[in-house]
Subunit: 504 residues, 2 copies
């Protein structure tokens, strides 16, 4: 097999264009051509839309990897909030207190410009290899990406100063974003520095109560073994409370192999759900696995429905992101503590080559298959099972929204076209399927339950997250209230906790 | 962070276009608009150019994963050869003997058409999710992708029958392409069925003589652990010899930790090479890591230089691919047998936090760094160290070419533009760098040595491959000669060897 080099180089060039430039030329051109600073929302229409493809490409194709996705979201929403606090009558920022601008300056135009420059500072730090892309986003809407003004009487200065302060505030917060924890050379951004080691290998389940990294297929025929993603997220400084050790979940007793009956019963519950999977459950499982399509869509829709102003939208978006980010820190602490087994390991262990009734793989429907050939509908995320992170995020998010709006009403309606499933493309759903919710309560409940349908969680992991995690919505709202009324103290640059404070 | 769903869906749609369609619309449009069946080469200009991006996307971005890349290449080149044998005065195919067409039918047009249909059968089997892409390649050059004719008096019939025979001949050859070895449900294509387990984990080097899977960064901050890619490649049926157990390499004695002095010495050689890395060595290391830019370019350039006819080109391309594929089967046998440590593990083990002089990471040049922070210039491929697969491929390829042409002359000249390094983009090489060779011997020697420069191999792994692997060029040439003179027997569909014949 050969190719003339001229052509191979052409393929390379095209590949580079596709992944680096063309993608963005396409996407932001479509967004920006009619962007209006006086009436539109730069946070959503330019920054969000323009940077999402880079995040997908560099972090997580399906936005299923929570820590990196929420890192991106919290940095941006924090920067938006801090950069625009001066346009609010009383609000102060988290990492900068930049004074107060007169009311007549609190225009959408100024707010949008401040948001743009604050975003630029965050994006250049968080996704530095895309600097050229961010420049183009700016040039396309007539802004100067080289304007480094720190004049706090202008939206550009407010954006720059606030954005840089957010970067400085969070860069050493314990997530190891720079990759320099414990090493000077060859940095390993976001790598574990806690020394986490799974007790099981992908090849052998030595301890059936504990997490087993899975061997997962990548593309055509490469297989890679999971690694607990950012275990040190448990050590990151939260926004809305002091120390995650003040929260606690009971142990996952049913995941203890010595509790044989309970161990088998919770595995059988997952098999039963797998055998009874409906098209609606499949597409909901996929929806809630994607943190943007689920939690972002709920915010944007309800921002519209409630007619939020630009400043209110920025508060709301930052609020729900504080709730999810801070709940995630707690969830990682508990995942680290319990290091619990996923359903696939338990089912393979319990049933080996005995037949079970379950979903039989993409397009196969419900079949009888050997227990050790069972797979969950969704691939498991890169962390131990208990508690359910997705459930916790949804409950924290829902409670924050309820607090913000003062009631449980919400609007959510998304139609999944026939055959648009990611797992069973062309097959599922058989017909266009409407996913709709009218209360935050229903939304969060189905979000949580979808993790059992998907086969990636036992029921207890969902139930315990549902019980505990609304508190993170309350705490986020309390903290946000103190920011908005101006009573919050300026926060010093954060430093994560030392490793030896990690509970095990 | 939120995005209006309308826009998120637009991003998804664009993403889909990019990865699935637009890429090919772009690439094959550029290729096909002026394609001439009477004078051009469909194998290169349409099939190669049109399917390479899919391979990159689904198998191996940098074409560094040998087994899947060579699988693709051997299936296509075999199909091209078998489909056109009837146009040669004496040749017979490997998996089909389709008679003889009169000399006046042996036109470039007929040969190109046979190549196209043979390729379609292979591609639909090997990369089935891209069927729509292959259809478009056909439609663009005015061929009917639905023509399933088996009329052996026509190039379409020859292509279809030969292509299908190659697929049938190879689909169960031991590589587990269908993923159904040992399981009926949830197939795992190309997954290991030999039960290979590394003795070391990514977290702990229990046995410093043996292979340790590395923890490798993917994108922004996900880390995954290597898995020996297709260990069962050792069990696949070769083309040019009966059983890889007739070949053998001596044990990697210097990799035995008990041979302390030798163990340290070979590690120090790698460090010395790392400390003295030149720009030319860096870009050569990257070149030879990419099996298309190195081994494909050598074939296409020398096809032109030697003025090969279309049938001769097809023979030559199939020949060198038999040489590399069959040498790979042997290399995998030895890698499986010895399961030898990579330099990174040995260097981390030997030096821990003591300073060594070496390359300090992208853009850092030569520094003094703690031994356990050292990284190889290239990331290690997903298999044990000894022997060097790349070296073996290059020596087998070079020897096959020497046999085919009857001399050692070759033309190879490729300029790497300033800053075009993949590892040190924008920095390396400092100036445009010409890589050129005038003999196959020099080409193979630098190919092998580049694995030490890259820090992924010890010298012995290169030297032993260099000593043994030319034989696979000889054997491939012998087999090809028997095909071309018509004496080769029709080969029955292959079945890999049983697992218990794997030497350890």
């Amino acid at each position: 097999m050969i190719f003339k080099i001229r052509k191979v180089q052409m393929v390379y060039r095209i590949g580079l264009l596709i992944s680096g430039l063309l993608f963005f030329v396409h996407s932001h051109a479509q967004v920006n051509e009619d962007f209006d600073f006086d009436t539109d929302n730069a946070a959503l229409d330019i920054i969000g839309f323009g940077s999402l493809p880079a995040l997908s490409e560099r972090a997580s194709t399906n936005f299923g990897d929570a820590t990196l996705v929420f890192r991106y979201a919290i940095l941006l929403t924090n920067a938006w909030y801090d950069a625009t606090a001066a346009y609010h009558p009383t609000a102060v920022g988290v990492y900068s207190h930049l004074g107060r601008r007169p009311a007549h300056e609190a225009t959408n135009r100024n707010i949008n410009i401040a948001v743009m420059y604050a975003s630029l500072r965050v994006l250049n730090s968080f996704l530095p290899t895309y600097k050229q892309t961010w420049r183009e986003l700016f040039i396309d809407v007539g802004l100067d990406p080289d304007d480094n003004s720190t004049d706090l009487t202008t939206p550009i200065g407010l954006g720059n100063v606030a954005g840089n302060a957010v970067v400085a505030g969070r860069i050493n917060d314990g997530l190891n974003e720079l990759g320099n924890e414990g090493r000077e050379f060859n940095p390993l951004p976001y790598s574990d520095y806690t020394g986490y080691k799974p007790v099981n290998t992908a090849y052998k389940l030595r301890n059936p109560s504990r997490w087993q990294p899975d061997l997962q297929r990548q593309g055509l025929g490469l297989y890679k073994i999971q690694q607990f993603v950012t275990p040190q997220f448990a050590l990151v400084e939260p926004y809305s409370y002091d120390d995650p050790r003040q929260f606690y979940m009971p142990p996952p007793r049913n995941s203890k192999f010595r509790n044989r009956r309970a161990y088998r019963q919770q595995a059988d519950e997952v098999l039963l759900a797998s055998a009874n999977l409906t098209d609606a459950q499949k597409v909901k499982a996929e929806l809630f696995d994607d943190k943007f399509r689920s939690l972002s869509f709920s915010v944007s829709t309800n921002t519209d429905v409630r007619n939020l102003s630009l400043l209110e939208f920025i508060q709301f978006d930052f609020l729900v992101n504080i709730a999810t980010f801070d709940s995630g820190i707690f969830v990682w602490q508990e995942k680290y503590r319990y290091d619990a087994v996923r359903p696939f390991s338990a089912i393979h262990k319990l049933y080996r080559n005995r037949l079970v009734e379950a979903w039989g793989g993409p397009g196969k429907g419900t079949v009888h298959l050997p227990g050790n050939e069972w797979e969950s509908y969704l691939e498991e995320a890169d962390h131990p099972e208990y508690p359910s992170a997705t459930t916790c995020f949804c409950y924290a998010h829902a409670q924050a929204a309820r607090q913000f709006f003062g009631d449980d009403d919400m609007v959510y309606a998304l139609t999944i076209g026939a055959g648009r499933s990611r797992i069973e493309p062309g097959i599922t759903p058989a017909e266009d399927t409407l996913i709709s919710y009218s209360t935050w309560t229903d939304f969060a409940e189905e979000c949580g339950q979808s993790r059992v349908w998907a086969g990636v969680h036992f029921q207890a992991a969902v139930d315990e997250s549902a019980a505990v995690c609304p508190v993170f919505g309350d705490l986020a709202y309390e903290y946000m209230s103190s920011l908005v009324d101006g009573s919050a103290a300026l926060r010093p640059p954060s430093k994560g906790r030392p490793v030896n404070t990690l509970p095990r």
